[in-house]
């Protein structure tokens, strides 16, 4: 039996993988502006001269601002599975951060399953693998209505 491959992020420092995963953004210590990926030098708010940032996990849930899919295989440096399997991609509004963050939607979900306003939560999934590793990326997973915290039915 082949040894289990270790799973590592496909990009360093953009998201956590332990426990419940989160995107890692920055928050300006002067004006509170968030950024993803992280800002490390100057705040991008033109009214702010902040140069100090906290690394913060971004909201794990948001609502779809818009969405589409990729019916044709994207060119490299995307590393597509063979055979290629189309995927959905969404831009998701995070209420607390007042920003929109893109991400693939988890496999098995089609555009017909999505709407503007659909609630999603952040997960990690395998983007591609080689002989040594599985490379992880963040994806958005639609919340089934039963998953919504605090939602009452009927």
């Amino acid at each position: 039996m082949a040894p289990t491959k270790s799973a590592i992020p496909a990009v360093d420092g953009w998201f956590t993988t332990e426990g419940t995963p989160s995107l890692l953004g920055s928050r300006c210590r002067t004006c509170g502006t968030y950024a993803f990926p992280r800002e490390t030098y100057f705040c991008r708010n033109p009214e702010c001269d902040g140069m100090a940032f906290d690394e913060v996990p971004l909201s794990r849930q948001g609502r779809i601002w818009s969405y589409t899919d990729a019916r044709y295989q994207p060119p490299p440096p995307y590393r597509a599975a063979d055979p290629y399997v189309p995927f959905c991609i969404a831009a998701v509004e995070l209420a607390a951060e007042k920003m929109v963050v893109m991400g693939q939607i988890v496999p098995g979900v089609g555009v017909d399953d999505l709407s503007v306003g659909t609630e999603v939560e952040l997960v990690t999934d395998v983007l591609y693998e080689d002989d040594d590793h599985q490379y992880l990326v963040w994806k958005w997973r639609p919340l089934a209505s039963g998953d919504r915290p605090g939602e009452t039915h009927g």
Binding site: V11, N45, D69, P77, A91, K98, M99, V100, V137
Partner: protein
Amino acid sequence: MADDKKVAVLGVGMHPWGKWGRNFVEYGLTAARAALADAGLTWRDVQFVSGADTIRNGYPGYVAGATFASALGWTGARVASSYAACASGATAVAAARAQILAGLCDVALVVGADTTPKGFFAPVGGDRKDDPDWLRFHLLGATNPTYFALYARRRMELFGATEDDFAQVKVKNARHGLANPNARYRAEVTAEEVLASPMVADPLRLLEICATSDGGAALVLTSTDYARRHAGAAGLVTIPAVSTVTPRFPQSVIEMPNFATDSAVAAEAAPGTGFRRSIAHAAYEEAGISPEDVDVAEVYDLSSALELDWYEDIGLCKEGEAERLLRDGDTAVGGRIPVNPSGGLSCFGEAIPAQAIAQVCELVWQLRGQAPGRQVEGARVGVTANQGLFGHGSSVIVTT
């Protein structure tokens, strides 16, 4: 319009768009020679060469101004090269216009040309984990049509646009391009054919997404005094405004090649200050005109749906009214305010550094009454609009 902001367009020229597979310099030279002949000037009359760069053709592409000057034969003319993604051509126009308005030269040649690979635009090669354009392909598989489709879906959600509306844009532009000798695609299509073409990025189909093309375009710009001495004042076409504005923080619409928008926690976006909208409005303000003054527009229809966004962003109608404008035939040649009489990117495909220059070429032909088969009768004021990666956009006003 303030006369001291105007430069004259004495000559325009293009190399037809296609997938010719030759060196981009050839297309640029063909366009440059055509523009010089159109102006009644020679290469030796040019004092300043303004090149629009291509990033997919090696070092000569990064120094396009010098590449074209060298190929035309060194004359000692001064030179500049501009890169601003899809707005590169307009940035090259802006550089030439500034030289002329500053009194540093009288005659400038603006040239842009490109040779493109087949298929999706991909990032420049190499393993570049600090380049967002590389990373969006690597981590998300997000192509340019991904972003176009996000805007299209958003439009359907906000304004009730339908797939048939988007298809009708393609039908209109295909009809416009039929008689344009520089267009790559010259064939009428029906809405049924558009809607039967393969889905690329839902809700956008193959016939609704602009192709990548080879092509070249050039302008001869001069001071208005020089133009009057050389060609007389009758029918003189001028550029009174060039907008190359950047977005304003916080930018709340996701833009290529970004992973996220700005955060609006510290500053709310003021209403009506969206980036696409600001591009043409800055040009109107500089020219001292309003959208009501415009007779014809060339806008960047990277997708069929995006053309509808532009109707609103350049002020042809209010938000949410673009579909009605299209359905009423207002934006077809013969309508109230024709958009993309050239056939647009829909019939051309995108030759990036040439495209914003080609938009100006079309408006000049329209204003001179030299656009047979697609002529907007009596057009006196035209506007271009364009947008590209990394916060670039442009708008040029052209008037008689």
